[in-house]
């Protein structure tokens, strides 16, 4: 399955870059991320605990950075496995100067998933992952705003990352809003797979940041 998308950050590339180097901010955008360990400049290991609704599980992921052309682009390979299945992904991330002090981030990748992730989660992965990515970018936007404000010495803006529960609720609400079929709403029980997908996106983004 392919994932691709873009997002405009309201800040210069350098600031966006720095934000992505801050593991705490990233972890807050994806509540449940437990660790991201740097093995060397090219290799990282991450752990993510996903607990949404009645389903929970932890996933261990390895991340490899290649084709580095910092601060513009890089290629990432992610291999994540957990009790609920596995995901392998290769992705490219680009940061572009976008004028008016904004930064355009573009990402595209190919993800393979297996196990319960695939057999029960597949049908909703596409739409839920979009929603989760959207929700996470909203958090990052706020974080960036807070960081820029702090930097410029203006009135500090309070940044409060959402809790895991709030995050899950937002995604669920987002999903349910676009759905008319009751059966698809039931699918929200299977939101977990998507969390892993988002982990990949987060790792992709963070990998470039590191």
């Amino acid at each position: 399955m392919k994932i691709e998308g873009e997002h405009v950050f309201k800040g210069p590339r350098q600031a966006v870059w720095e934000m992505f180097r801050d593991p705490e901010v990233l972890a807050s955008a994806m509540p449940g991320t437990q660790s991201l360990k740097k093995i060397d400049d090219q290799h990282y290991e991450g752990m993510m605990n996903v607990r949404i609704g009645p389903v929970s599980g932890s996933f261990a992921g390895q991340l490899t950075v290649s084709n580095e052309n910092l601060p513009e682009s890089c290629t990432l390979t992610v291999d994540g496995r957990g009790a609920a299945g596995f995901a392998k992904g290769v992705g490219n991330v680009h940061f572009f100067e976008n004028g008016e002090s904004t930064t355009l981030m573009k990402y595209d990748g190919e993800v393979t998933i297996g196990g319960t992730l695939a057999s029960v989660g597949q049908r909703m992965i596409d739409s839920v992952s979009k929603s989760m990515i959207k929700s996470a970018f909203e958090t990052l936007d706020k974080a960036l705003e807070a960081r820029l404000a702090a930097k410029s010495g203006n009135t500090p803006i309070e940044f409060k990352p959402p809790t895991e529960a709030e995050f899950a609720k937002n995604v669920a609400k987002d999903m349910a809003g676009g759905l008319t079929n009751v059966a698809e709403v039931r699918m929200l029980l299977y939101i977990v797979p998507v969390a892993l997908l988002f982990l990949i996106v987060a790792l992709i983004a963070r990998g470039c940041g590191g």
Binding site: G114, S119, R123, M187
Partner: protein
């Protein structure tokens, strides 16, 4: 040949138990000291196993044991070839790679067991999944049937040169010569997608080894209790009579419960003997999708040659059949496809080739229809393409080519799943079609209703197809009928029951002979302690084959009644009558005896029985047909397609079916209705989807949709024709799979018609998005 009991719509004996929640199903069995099993299954479809470390699992409280392939030592070996391929087909290739009970060294499909955990509860057994570390090296998977045979494709079985599982050519006449003479030749690529049996009850297995009596008791949701017992006994080195297989009530079968070599069947008896405690395993729904067999999935390259008047000169069909990662069930499914492709039409020249392919998917074995829907789909689609090409009405071109009764019995020249050349025994195919057209109002719909509705902007279409159903194949079944001193009857047969109403229909067969009410007849199916010869419930054979054996046994008991009563009353047998639980002298009804009392007399405590007489009012009999009986029918359906949503509503569904004599018309209709709902499911709701890596993407009822009450036709009509088969005394043909066979073909034709023939659809399982895609492609 309807009688007082036989042929009557008698209400079912088994209902009260089922309705009140008192019927015992497999998961209701609870034995003292029972342990629970769970299987850790592979997430990868194709991979090499490096190491499985379960030491942490053993430390978990409540876990009793964990086993991987290595732990079974020499006991680990590939399972039996449950159905060997027919040897009679010359030049055929078959590479047997039977199912392994648990993956060793290599994983070949997603869901293949890696470890089995035995614990005090199922909850704990599944908790232990998290404790097991599996080191595995993923390999490229093979899923596309055609690419699988290309050089360089990843090999499912590395000891073979390719992924070819079987190659079988069967032929009658000479297709190439016929083709040369034809006015029109039409070639199409036709796809039939994969479906699940999806019985509401998953599989289950409970086993107890009683050390003191050295007896093993197995409760299983099997369609083949006796073959299961035999294979367990052989594997465990026991006598057959040391193993008793009991099937409790079973929540639907539909084919996949026929297997006798899945992980539970093989491993749990061994573990129960080792641990000396009873073990229970109940499959969950995801496991059922991943690791219980399913069917369909063929790619056909088919061709039909005709005269310009629409007379068929020949058909050629070369098709790829997905057998999954192993082929324990031989070639049953693709052989059924071969025998059903042209069976109802006059096709003098026919060439058919199976290329059976190994893939990294779950094993394929029959699901209700079993290869027949594929054959029918291919032929009916060719007929539709031909009708369009020749500007003929779909009904007209069919009528022109259907076989007529004078042609029966007709040898087909094609060897089928029962290892013998197919013979069409009887039937009236044209009448099936005529009656269907009459009930659905075909002419009126075409000429008046459809034009009017189209003028109103409605997208309505009609589909009309015909089919045959090869049923009631051998080898044999048997039964024992016993009248007890209580005046009631016990009937035991070797097949098992999954909802077909055998407890009633078999009782009706016996009641008719012995004159005892159906309610007083107790039928035992699927208990090897009661009857231990037989093959199982498959290929729509229960009623016709086991039913005939039961009839034969009941006739013998009837003879014994007359013979003994004749001596007691000192009256010739022809002066006696039996009924209402007694036997009496016709000329003097007061001279009578209850059958229970007669049964006592048939089993004397002193004196002797006469030489040549067996004791008791009991008899055992067997029946085996030379070849299967062929049922037939026709289906018409009118659909209404919503051009906004592409939702298709079946407004009117008509089936005319001929399965010979009906034992119980109410049960028969129920079977047909059920088959239709599965057919509609296959056509528009159900689809098992594997991705390129062999991951099953539809392993829950949220993704694998089955028809619900609102999806069924607004109006359903059943018509019956009775052409009795000469193959058994009762004239019965099977019916279990009928509804599922023609429905996808009729549905697709109706959808094409609803779309004014704008698109041609050559695949069996549609859904709204798929129809939308066809229309998009067109534009």
């Amino acid at each position: 040949m309807a009688g007082k009991y036989f042929g009557q719509p008698i209400l079912r004996n088994e209902d009260a138990q089922l309705l009140s929640g008192k019927a015992r199903f497999i998961d209701d069995i609870d034995l003292p000291g029972m342990l629970h099993a769970a299987f850790l299954r592979s997430d990868f479809a194709h991979a090499r196993i490096k190491k499985i470390d379960y030491s942490a699992a053993l430390k978990r409280s409540g876990v009793v044991a964990v086993y991987t392939a290595e732990d079974f030592g020499d006991f680990w070996r590939p399972g039996p070839l449950q159905v060997p391929p027919p040897t009679a087909i010359k030049g055929s290739v078959f590479n047997a790679r039977t199912l392994v009970p648990i993956a060793k060294d290599k994983v070949r499909f997603s869901g293949e067991p890696l470890a089995v955990i035995i614990a005090e509860s199922r909850y704990i057994a599944e908790d232990a999944f998290d404790d097991i570390i599996v080191e595995i090296e993923p390999l490229d998977a093979v899923n596309d049937l055609e690419k699988a045979l290309e050089p360089g494709a990843p090999l499912v079985h590395e000891d073979l040169d390719s992924n070819l599982a079987a190659d079988v050519v069967q032929e009658r006449g000479n297709y190439e010569e016929a083709r040369a003479k034809a006015d029109v030749v039409i070639s199409r690529k036709i796809l039939v997608n994969r479906n699940a049996g999806a019985a509401l009850e998953n599989r289950g297995f409970v086993v107890e080894w009683e050390e003191r009596s050295r007896q093993m008791t197995v409760w299983a949701t099997t369609q083949a209790p006796i073959p299961l017992r035999n294979t367990i006994a052989a594997r465990m080195g026991l006598f057959e009579n040391q193993v008793r297989v009991i099937t409790p009530f079973i929540g639907g079968g539909f084919g996949p419960k026929i297997m006798t070599s899945q992980a539970d069947d093989v491993l749990l008896p061994w573990i129960a003997m080792k641990l000396k405690r009873p073990i229970k395993w109940i499959e969950d729904r995801r496991e059922n999708f991943l690791a219980t067999t399913s069917e369909r999935d063929q790619v056909h390259y088919a061709e039909i040659a005709l005269t310009k008047e629409g007379t068929i000169l020949g058909v050629k069909d070369v098709f790829y059949h997905n057998t999954g990662a192993y082929d324990p069930y031989g070639m049953t499914v693709p052989l059924n496809t071969q025998t059903h492709t042209v069976s109802n039409y006059r096709v003098p020249n026919f060439y058919t080739q199976i290329k059976m392919v190994f893939t990294n998917q779950m094993v394929v074995t029959p699901v209700r229809g079993a290869g027949r829907p594929q054959g029918v789909f291919v032929m009916e689609r060719l007929m539709d393409a031909a009708a369009r090409e020749l500007n003929m009405d779909p009904a007209e071109i069919r009528m022109k080519n259907l076989l007529i009764p004078d042609e029966f019995p007709l040898r087909t020249g094609i060897i089928g799943q029962d290892f013998v050349e197919g013979v069409l025994d009887s039937g009236n195919y044209k009448k099936n079609l005529e009656k269907t057209m009459e009930i659905v109002g075909y002419e009126k719909f075409r000429k008046e209703i459809q034009p009017k509705l189209r003028a109103e902007g409605k997208h309505v279409g009609i589909g009309i197809v015909t089919f045959t159903e090869g049923t009631a194949v051998g080898p044999y079944e048997g039964a024992r009928v016993t009248i007890g001193a209580n005046g009631k009857v016990n009937v035991a047969t070797g097949i098992s029951t999954q909802g077909q109403g055998h407890f009633t229909s078999f009782a009706q067969i016996v009641a008719e002979q012995v004159g005892i009410d159906v309610k007083d007849i107790n039928v035992v199916t699927g208990d090897t302690a009661h009857f231990h010869w037989g093959a199982g419930t498959f290929a729509s054979r229960g009623a016709a084959v086991a039913g005939s054996a039961i009839h034969n046994a009941a006739v013998k008991v009837r003879e014994k009644i007359f013979s003994l009563a004749s001596k007691i009353f000192e009256e010739p047998e022809e002066n006696l009558e039996v009924g209402d639980g007694k036997v009496w002298v016709k000329s003097n009804p007061s001279q009578s005896m209850l059958l229970g009392d007669l049964a006592l007399r048939a089993n004397p405590t002193r004196g002797t029985i006469e030489p040549g007489v067996e004791p008791g009012l009991e008899a055992t009999a067997y029946y085996g047909p030379p070849y299967g009986a062929t049922g037939a029918g026709a289906v018409a359906m009118i659909v209404n397609l919503d051009p906004e949503t592409m939702q298709v509503k079946v407004e009117h569904f008509v089936i005319v079916h001929d399965c010979g004599t009906a034992i119980n018309p109410m049960i028969l209709e129920g079977q047909v209705y059920g088959g239709i709902s599965m057919g509609i499911g296959n056509a528009f709701y159900e689809k098992m989807v594997y991705d390129d890596n062999g991951q099953l993407l539809s392993a829950s009822f949220m993704d694998y949709l089955m028809p619900q009450a609102t999806d069924m036709p607004a109006k359903m009509e059943l018509g019956h024709l009775v052409t009795t088969t000469p193959l058994n005394t009762l004239g019965i043909k099977g019916v279990g799979e009928a509804g599922a066979i023609p429905t996808p073909a009729a549905f697709v034709q109706a959808v094409e018609d609803a779309l004014h023939g704008q698109v041609e659809i050559m695949e069996s399982n549609l859904n709204p998005s798929r129809i939308f895609e066809y229309l998009q492609k067109k534009q």
